[in-house]
């Protein structure tokens, strides 16, 4: 019989991404060690988590992690479901539960989804973008798969701090935006640094035969931003909030198109 965190001795770990501590409780020490390794650099000593999840580990069931995700809310109670996990979360109680097999990918997906839900209400978002800090300013590089997120990350010069090569974390505070490092990796498979900086520019990546920066009209900037925002919830109010957040961001932060050839000189244009 597989034990849930509430049935046996409770082991826990706090994973803090984007300044939001999330405590994960489990009864399985091996799973805890796996999480500790997966989120190294993002493990926090915070005693006041904003959310707490009890993880129940179940036997492997050949569930499909590529299945469509379903994220629904009813009466303040969220349910998150994919082939490889089922999770529930009640924001008012700051508590939730996750049922999954002992792998790091399912809980990674749950964390991404929960962060998108929290950020959407605060004017922030997770973005399909690489990001890095240079000269104490954060630069985002957005694009779909193949647009060059991994390449631009790999070409980052010494002195640039990589926040992520895949999923950028953007939080709003008044009229400014801050980018945080994330453990969410892409092809580079390199966990970002757990640091943050004010967002200076969002670049829309395009591969070309020269290094060039071009202006982007506000409507195009907003459309491109929305195309790259991670959003899973089947919830009209939250979708409208995400839309307004993207419009606000595009209004306040310069959005440019960065055409580049794959060599390090492109970074001479940045920062």
């Amino acid at each position: 019989m597989h034990a849930s965190a509430s049935q046996a001795e409770c082991l826990s770990l706090v994973i803090e991404i984007g300044g939001m501590p999330v405590r994960v409780n489990t009864a399985d020490p091996e799973f805890l060690a796996m999480l500790g390794e997966r989120y190294a650099g993002f493990v926090s000593a915070s005693a006041n988590p904003e959310i707490e999840f009890d993880v129940e580990l179940v036997p492997p069931n050949f569930a499909d992690p590529d299945a469509d995700v379903s994220v629904r809310q009813q009466g303040g109670h969220w349910s998150l479901e994919r082939g490889d996990f089922y999770a529930e979360w009640e924001p008012a109680r700051r508590r939730g539960s996750i049922r999954q097999t002992a792998n790091p990918y399912s809980i990674d997906a749950v964390l991404r989804i929960v962060h998108t839900l929290v950020l959407a209400r605060q004017g922030g978002f997770l973005l399909h973008a690489a990001s890095a800090i240079r000269n104490r300013k954060a630069f985002l590089f957005a694009g779909v798969s193949g647009a060059g997120k991994t390449t631009i990350s790999r070409l980052a010069p010494e002195g640039a701090t990589l926040l992520t090569d895949e999923i950028s974390y953007v939080r709003r505070a008044d009229d400014s935006y801050t980018a945080f490092g994330t453990p969410f990796t892409g092809e580079l498979a390199k966990v970002g640094e757990n640091v943050s900086a004010p967002v200076e520019t969002l670049y829309l990546l395009a591969k070309g035969d020269e290094n060039r920066i071009d202006p982007v009209a506000p409507v195009e900037a907003t459309r491109a931003l929305l195309e790259n925002v991670l959003f899973f919830a089947e919830d009209e109010a939250l979708a409208q909030a995400a839309f307004q957040s993207a419009c606000e961001f595009a209004k306040r932060i310069p959005v440019r198109r960065l055409t580049f050839v794959p060599n390090a000189r492109v970074w001479e244009l940045i920062g």
């Binding site: 009209a217 506000p218 907003t222 459309r223 929305l226 959003f231 009209e236 409208q240 839309f243 595009a250």
Partner: protein
């Protein structure tokens, strides 16, 4: 000819950006960008002003077009926007909820 009324669908999110209006469908999150005429129509679609009056006061004065031709074009446009559930159209005034989800 019957009177036509148009109202913004409260289930969409809208935002004016640099003179253009961007709309996101509440049904499936599809994005639409309205041209200048469609933006005027959207902004004045209060559910109580007849479409003919919007055309006469807001569109004809802006674009110097014949009222009959402008009204026909506006009706076509309104029906197209309604097909995407961006606008509601009716032969009677349309009661509206307080919020339309619009921001500038």
């Amino acid at each position: 000819m019957s009177m036509l009324y148009v109202a913004r669908n409260p289930r969409v999110a809208a935002r004016g950006l640099d003179g253009e209006m961007m709309i996101m469908s509440g049904r499936d999150s599809t994005l639409f960008t309205l041209n200048k005429t469609a933006t005027i129509l959207w902004q004045n679609a209060d559910g109580t002003t007849p479409l003919s009056e919007i055309v006469e006061r807001r569109i004809c004065s802006e674009f110097e077009v014949e009222p009959a031709e402008a009204l026909q074009d506006a009706e076509t446009l309104a029906r197209e926007l309604a097909s995407h559930e961006i606008l509601q159209i009716s032969e009677h005034p349309i009661p509206r909820p307080a919020s339309a989800g619009e921001s500038h």
